[in-house]
């Protein structure tokens, strides 16, 4: 019994037989939209990982993430979609652009954007994609998502679920975010203090500790971190 068949039997056991009648050759309107947006998303993702212009990669990432947000909407998960737009498109990509700027990434085409590992990477990626697509299609080719009725991912539903069942992990997550915030500051600040001392004495780049120049560089620290 194949794993695909296992999952398939699970699906057929629970899904009503109406799903069986639906084929891939007669897509619904949602499916068509999903397919088109999916193509755009995938294309943007491929461009993101192949383009030679680093800033363009970040912008194509915006397209890909935005496409994903649309897909969430199509799956009736509206809250997730807005969170996706808010956090990914709004902040993460901005952060990445900041990172590119701070590391003095070249603007324009850079011929060495890909490492020598490219062909190995391509082979691994294609093999992984083939395997995954094969298994997934084999397993879920008959499964049907019923998008009728009340939306499964409205803000109401998601909020109720989040604050009824997931309160504790949610609060723990806030602690994690705080820790990440502090960690990021510490990481940047330490390196900053070391380099500043190195620049000041011009003898050993990381010889003196953060206490030497911590107070004078405090303003630049905050600026440089975020």
């Amino acid at each position: 019994m194949t794993p695909a068949a296992t999952v398939g039997s699970l699906a057929t056991g629970t899904v009503n037989l109406a799903a069986e009648s639906r084929g891939f050759l007669s897509p619904t309107g949602v499916e068509v939209v999903f397919l088109l947006v999916g193509l755009v998303t995938f294309g943007a993702a491929v461009v993101t990982v192949t383009t030679r212009q680093l800033v363009h990669a970040a912008l194509w990432l915006v397209v890909a993430l935005g496409g994903l947000a649309v897909e969430y909407l199509l799956l009736t998960a509206e809250f997730i979609a807005w969170v996706q737009v808010l956090i990914y498109v709004g902040s993460v990509v901005v952060l990445l652009l900041f990172g590119l700027m701070l590391t003095r990434a070249p603007i324009g085409r850079s011929p060495d954007a890909d490492s020598g590992n490219r062909w190995v990477a391509l082979a691994v990626a294609v093999a992984a994609a083939a395997t995954l697509v094969w298994v997934v299609v084999d397993a879920f080719r008959t499964t049907w998502i019923d998008l009728e009725g009340a939306p499964a991912g409205s803000t109401d539903v998601t909020g109720a679920s989040l604050f009824q069942h997931w309160v504790l992990p949610f609060e723990a997550l806030s602690v994690l975010l705080l820790a990440a915030l502090v960690g990021a500051i510490v990481l940047s600040r330490k390196a900053k203090a070391g380099t500043a001392a190195g620049g000041a004495t011009a003898t050993g780049p990381s010889a003196s500790g953060p206490s030497a120049s911590g107070t004078t560089d405090a303003g630049r620290d905050t600026e440089g971190t975020r």
Binding site: T2, S115, T131
Partner: protein, 664 residues
């Protein structure tokens, strides 16, 4: 206290003294001298008490088996007969004298505490050998003596001579000890016991199946310990140790142990005619050769060392003709006068600042500087030369008399051939002994030339001991030859007329010839100046001696030899002199026979190890190194490669898992 308790205390007290001395040596230096001297003196008193109680009657036997140890039981046994009682008295007398003498001799030595403790331990081990009734316990004492002699001979370990001598003493005696041990095991297997009384009982009832190999194996150990040919070479070199140690080793302990051991087990040796003949030949070669060598030595202590070997030859000769009474008699008197000779020799070396007879023969008034040593040494040399009425005369005549007894066929204990060998060699040796004794005396005390340096009087502890030992050297023999047969086997020890006349005659001839040749050669002495003295003549006796030993070879070119034409020994020996000085090149023979092959074998082994074994090792290392190099190549440091390989592996595994699960 019972005699047994007293006898147990005799070896125990010096042992406890040694332990206490070693423990307290650094923390409480004030106790070291009492701890060295007092236990030995108390042991002397106890040994005398034991001897008085034993009184030559039946042997005192006591044994206890602590624990079963296997097939042949090992018992803590005492066996005290007349031999043991008297030998123990001799050991304690000499050890006491040596300890007292050492307090003066090594007065300023920083290593005196350990030295005194080792001397005590040495004494204790010898007493254990003397009293023990069990061969395994005897072996313990035997081996402790070996290791103590190693430490004591190497006391001046700063000098290379002392280091080499201590190693040589240890190795050569160990060379004998290996067959000795095997012989003991064979003997115990045959007799079923390590107890001496049971072994002798088995011998008497003919229970020993292989007496000849056992006796020969034991003989090897005895030859090593008692410095008999061909294992005697360690003894002259052992002169690199301090003089009191030489006195202790030569007079009472180490070398006496071998003779004493044969005396204990003589019936076993008698059971094998071949062993007796071998013993006789060994004794003859030893005594004649060593007497010749003694005549050529320049170092006063080496002369005495070779004389010890010769006198030990007399003892083994007496044993070869199956009379242990004579052997132990000579052991006792020799112990007294040889200890005296060495201790007096130490005083002379200190006073003269040199150990070279050639240098001493160019000093006048040496005898006035050390009158005690002069007189006592004269007594001891007369005893050594066996001039009546000194004690050496009686004991040596006892040996010669027994040999003559065997020759004339009055006994069936020993083969007549052994008798002839011992008698002839003994007479020859008597001649030579008198010659070298005279030479020693003339060169040391009758020198002409610059006046001997004056360091003031010698310490009382050193001179008083000389007079104590002079008494038995002078009178022991005369009194003892009547009393001793009661203690021993009952054989008569009275000198017979024939051998007395013969022996004394050849001794006188030897002395007179030496004197004549000395008169002839002494004129040369003034022409060739010789004489290096120690760098610190005002230092302690031990320091002066160590410097004298270390300085002999650079000053004269050889440790045993000096290019001195005024030496009467050179005239007497003629072309033989050079060979005799080198101990008849036996060391060179050993070097050629054993040392070089061993060295060659060692270098061969080293070559094999370096070139052959190492090649395999390197070959075994090469393959892993290649594999390692290949694996190392994968360690590029590039994270992307690692992750690529990791994910590729994951994909492969996932595909494999899917395929297996689907049964494809």
């Amino acid at each position: 206290m019972t005699t047994t308790t007293l006898a147990v205390l005799v070896p125990l007290l010096p042992f406890l003294g040694a332990i206490a001395g070693l423990l307290l040596g650094r923390t409480a230096p004030g106790f070291v001298r009492p701890l060295a001297v007092l236990p030995t003196l108390v042991s002397l008193v106890l040994a005398a008490l034991v001897a008085a109680r034993q009184g030559g009657d039946g042997a005192v036997d006591a044994a206890t088996e602590l624990t079963p140890t296997g097939s042949v039981p090992i018992e803590l046994a005492l066996h005290i007969d007349g031999f043991a009682a008297l030998t123990a008295v001799l050991v304690t007398v000499v050890a006491g004298c040596v300890q007292i003498y050492s307090t003066g001799y090594l007065r300023d030595d920083p290593r005196y505490p350990s030295y005194a403790a080792l001397v005590s331990l040495f004494t204790s081990a010898m007493l254990l050998v003397v009293y023990s009734g069990d061969l395994m316990v005897l072996l313990v004492g035997w081996e402790i003596m070996g290791i103590c002699s190693y430490f004591l001979v190497g006391h001046y370990w700063e000098t290379p001579e002392a280091r080499a001598a201590s190693l040589k003493a240890f190795l050569v005696t160990k060379l004998g000890d290996v067959p000795f041990l095997i012989g003991l095991f064979a003997l115990a297997t045959d007799a079923g016991s390590f107890r001496i009384t049971r072994i002798l009982g088995a011998v008497a009832s003919g229970g020993i199946e292989h007496p000849t190999p056992i006796a020969l194996l034991l003989l090897a150990g005895v030859a090593g310990k008692s410095a008999q040919f061909p294992l005697h070479t360690w003894l002259p070199d052992a002169m690199a140790g301090p003089t009191p140690v030489s006195a202790l080793i030569h007079a009472a302990t180490m070398v006496a142990a071998g003779v004493y051991f044969i005396a204990r087990l003589l019936p076993l040796f008698e059971a094998s005619q071949a062993a007796m003949v071998v013993l006789a030949v060994m004794a003859a070669v030893t005594m004649a050769g060593s007497a010749l060598a003694a005549l050529a030595q320049d170092d006063i202590k080496r002369v005495l060392a070779y004389s010890t070997i010769g006198q030990l030859g007399y003892m083994t000769g007496a044993l070869a003709v199956a009379d242990r009474g004579a052997a132990v008699f000579h052991l006792l008197s020799h112990g007294a006068f040889k200890a005296l000779l060495f201790l007096a020799g130490g005083v002379i070396i200190h006073a003269a600042g040199t150990n070279s007879l050639a240098a001493m023969s160019r000093m006048s008034h040496l005898r006035d500087r050390v009158p005690d040593a002069y007189w006592t040494m004269t007594v001891a040399l007369l005893a050594l030369a066996a001039i009546p009425p000194f004690s050496g005369f009686f004991s040596k005549e006892a040996v010669l008399g027994v040999a003559e007894h065997v020759v004339t066929g009055h006994t069936e204990h020993a083969p007549a051939a052994a008798g002839w060998i011992v008698l002839l060699a003994g007479l020859l040796t008597a001649l030579l002994t008198a010659a070298y004794a005279t030479r020693l005396w003339l060169l040391a005390f009758r020198g002409h030339g610059t006046e001997a340096p004056d360091h003031g009087r010698q310490p009382l502890t050193m001179t008083a001991v000389l007079w104590v030992l002079a008494v038995p050297s002078l009178a022991l023999g005369g009194f003892a030859f009547r009393v001793l047969p009661d203690w021993f086997d009952g054989h008569d020890l009275t000198p017979t007329l024939t051998t007395s006349v013969l022996g004394t005659g050849v001794a006188l001839v030897g002395g007179i010839v030496t004197y004549a040749s000395w008169r002839h050669t002494t004129a040369y002495a003034a022409r060739i100046p010789l004489g290096a003295v120690a760098a610190h003549p005002e230092g302690g006796a031990g320091q002066v001696e160590a410097e004298a030993i270390a300085g002999h070879e650079p000053a004269y070119g050889d440790i045993a030899y000096a290019p001195d034409p005024s030496d009467p020994g050179r005239l007497l020996l003629g072309p033989l002199h050079r060979h005799a000085a080198a101990g008849f090149h036996l060391d060179a023979v050993y070097t050629a026979l054993f040392v070089r092959p061993v060295r060659a074998g060692a270098s061969l082994v080293r070559f094999l190890d370096r070139e052959v074994v190492e090649t395999y090792v390197r070959g075994a290392g090469t393959l892993p190194r290649w594999v390692g190099a290949a694996v190392r190549r994968a360690q590029t440091g590039n994270l992307q490669t690692y992750v690529s390989v990791l994910l590729a592996g994951t994909v492969v595994l996932a595909v494999a898992a899917v395929l297996v699960a689907t049964g494809a």
